[in-house]
Symmetry: C2
Subunit: 210 residues, 2 copies
């Protein structure tokens, strides 16, 4: 009996193409593909449509990989989720794994690696390439960095740092005094070990706050 797989990827061409590859594997077959997490949830309402393995793209418009893996882990923990992404960005790996992903594969892997990964995932219950394991282990050590908490108000401020508004104007938008805005800057600079607004703006963009 072949193990069943569902692919979730908003790039239909890619999803279908992957399906073609997987359907040639002896031990696996694709049940169906979805464009996003929402669609997957709808399918999961039907108990006949729950697969053994979920191949999950991370960046999706409607309900992304992080949200989806969280939902699947909560509602169908028996489904093994393998994350599939372009780059192996540290934060994505940590976020996916801590939200329940059992495997992580890059899209620049070879088809044989995909088969190998699926097999390992099926037998061992998990599959992490060396580079991913490294990230996961090293993330356990530096709990300090993970402790950086950014308040809602600071997040709001970060949105404005990437604009050409000055602090006075940001204060107006945030209904507070310019001093307060400057204190957000100072606090964030301290936490993030930055010195300038440019540094904050770059941080905001690269970490999805803007």
């Amino acid at each position: 009996m072949k193990k069943t797989i569902v692919i979730v990827d908003d790039h239909i061409l890619i999803a279908k193409a992957l399906q073609g590859i997987i359907d040639n594997f002896a031990a696996f077959e694709v049940m169906y593909v979805c464009e996003n997490g929402k669609e997957l949830i709808k399918n999961f309402e039907n108990s006949n449509k729950i697969p053994d393995i979920l191949l999950l793209d991370i960046s999706m418009p409607i309900m992304d990989g992080f949200e989806t893996v969280t939902w699947v882990t909560a509602h169908h923990p028996e489904v093994k989720v393998m994350a599939l992404s372009m780059q192996g960005e540290e934060k994505s790996v940590i976020k996916m794994v801590s939200n329940g992903a059992k495997g992580y594969l890059l899209k620049n892997a070879h088809p044989v690696e995909l088969e190998n990964a699926l097999t390992k995932l099926n037998i061992n219950g998990f599959f992490y390439p060396d580079w991913a394991s490294k990230i996961i282990f090293s993330s356990l050590n530096k709990t300090k960095d993970a402790e950086i908490k950014i308040s809602d108000r600071e997040k709001e401020f970060l949105k404005y740092t990437v604009t050409e508004l000055n602090y006075k104007e940001i204060a107006d938008k945030m209904f507070c005094s310019p001093r307060t805005v400057e204190s957000y800057r100072d606090q964030l600079c301290e936490k993030l070990e930055l010195k300038t607004r440019v540094g904050l703006a770059v941080f905001a963009i690269k970490n999805g706050f803007a």
Copy 2:
């Protein structure tokens, strides 16, 4: 006789998966796949390895789609290049088309659309979905925007704008006077209709200069 296709995409899994789809098409067959433009050029040195159609991903590490399509158009204008990308970002479309791409397809297309696109490309010599044509035509009107040229020196400066270096320090790195650095800023701000360094930094990141 089937039309030959070469796929260039750094995500091997995707490239191979696409190959699987295309090889099922009656009129087309994949000759080989490459991970980047450099590899393609090496292959093109052998005249037996020049295909009818090139399926070209845009974002690649070594030699990206823009550079690659420029090279191919210059050296092998008979090869029809179809750009393949995640999103249909306006700037990417314009850049690819003005550099010689004859077609543009999103990765969230259906496999049938791919076959249709390849057929049209082969028969008509071009293929642009409606959304892409719209972008191309509207870009012809606002030639002003397209005329924005950023000099090498300004590009170098843009790299530094996203750092926490001040203009004095940037001047040291660029072996010029701080005034000169400030003139780069002023010129860029004028061209890009920006006012602050933060604006420049955001521009630099979003447009791949940093």
